[in-house]
Symmetry: C2
């Protein structure tokens, strides 16, 4: 199905896509690209890629599918390096957690969003990174959201959809802005709360003692605060509008909740907690079990 | 060591104490007290208690140690029912997650805080409840905080300390107000954020879709929002001062973070996230592994 796949950024996300397509026998050659020669050499040894180049344009020459799995902050530079090196029929897609910024980066580089660029977001990950952490089953049963624009080539969308389906993922399409709002609520906002809480406690003078009394529930709650600070800085900047708004709204709601607590309004508290418990028991426990820490 | 232990509230917390002391061979008779005859009957069948009464005063007659493991909202009523039924040398302790309210309840009922009342808080729990969920190892390796007052009998503190040590717990003492502040930060505040987030998403119109895209990290983050709404209403009301203040502070910090994100101040974001990650990796992953959901 794919003659030559170029993966820009051969880490957990990019490496796992290559492995899954190889496992399905649906890719000819895989060309890797990245900065670390050691990581790329390891990727060759592991059979994840066949060869590599440190230059994205060179790596993408002759490829019919190019997957950008670089941090959001490196996306624009990645597009720029590809310009003039792509086959006319090459399909480009990416794995960025924010789609508005990727579309803006593409527009800035190419003057318009290329018709054969299909912005995408595989909602999958683990707390590990690098090609060593990649595995063929990462996307099995997970969701991939594609956010094509009105001008996106339908055939390109179809190719990317089938590529992810082959990896075992469930593919849905969504409007760019809606994607960024949904992810702000379900992923970016929780990460801000976990980072913010741990940071607030760490800044207290007696923080040694504070953390000593934090037990099991705290560990689960703050697990996502062990995620990559650089990746999350990039996500915040890339999704600043939707995330800023979601965080402001939540901050106001927590101020209201503080007031409800101070007032001792038990009925209102019970209503909030019962509604939350019901929603979590219904929706979250109903989801297919995911990895230990989905960083999507 | 304990001739007759009376457990008011034979659920996960009370039942596990009885089981642990029995397993250590350090308790003579165990008398249970509660509302549900079925639960108490089951406790007898399981060998957790020897006999029971629905009346706390009757259950506590002749006991040398009385453990109140009732919800915070039932603590005052529990003390009132004990009045006039206690042996003069009986030691009373409790398992409430907030200590200021327990001390206030005792003062309201007895006129002063009895010298042989040792307020306590075993930081342990699972997401299950009832005597069926109790087990002798619940407190092994967990912390128990005692908050004696200046007027508390030292011998009583010593007895309660040894009782918990026999169960495998690490016992520390702390000032009442300090306990309530530490727990507000490490337990009550995270629960408010998890309940608040799930409730905020549940109130969105397209909540079905929202939850569909919430993956692994969200599941961990919101696990504590499946806790008992009634228990948490009681905790909020009992710790309203410290928790209200902590939640207000956090709300203001999240408003600041929203502003930092909107400004696109990547350096500041990186500083916050890196400090949080370092603190979590250092303190939380360094803690002994706890149960699946410590509801302390």
């Amino acid at each position: 199905m794919i003659e030559r796949l170029t993966v820009i950024g051969v880490g957990l996300i990019g490496g796992s896509l290559a492995r899954a397509l190889r496992a399905a026998g649906l890719v000819g050659e895989v060309v890797g690209c990245g900065r670390s020669a050691a990581n790329l050499q390891r990727a060759v040894e592991l059979g994840v890629i066949d060869r590599y180049s440190h230059n994205p344009g060179e790596a993408a020459e002759g490829a019919d599918l190019v997957f950008l799995a670089v941090p959001l902050g490196a996306m624009r530079e990645g597009f720029a390096a590809l310009r003039g090196h792509l086959r006319p029929d090459a399909v480009i897609t990416d794995g960025g957690s924010v789609k508005g910024s990727v579309v803006a980066d593409a527009r800035a580089v190419f003057g318009e969003v290329p018709a054969r660029l299909v912005p995408g977001h595989p909602i999958a990950g683990t707390e590990h990174s690098g090609v060593e952490a990649s595995f063929a089953g990462l996307y099995r049963g997970r969701r991939v959201i594609l956010t094509p624009l009105p001008e996106t080539d339908l055939d390109a969308v179809d190719r990317v959809t089938r590529m992810w389906q082959v990896c075992g993922a469930e593919v849905t399409t969504m409007d760019v802005a809606h994607h960024d709002e949904v992810l702000a609520a379900t992923s970016h906002l929780p990460h801000m709360l976990a980072f913010g809480l741990v940071d607030a406690l760490a800044r207290l003078r007696e923080n040694d003692e504070i953390f000593r009394y934090a037990a099991g529930g705290f560990r689960d709650f703050t697990r996502i605060a062990s995620s990559s600070p650089v990746m999350w800085r990039d996500i915040c900047i890339a999704n600043r509008e939707a995330l800023g708004a979601a965080l402001e709204r939540f901050s106001a709601e927590m101020a209201d909740l503080a007031e409800t607590i101070r007032r001792g309004d038990g009925d209102h508290l019970l209503e909030i907690f019962a509604r939350a418990k019901a929603a979590r028991d219904r929706y979250v426990d109903g989801l297919a079990a995911g990895g230990p820490a989905d960083l999507g």
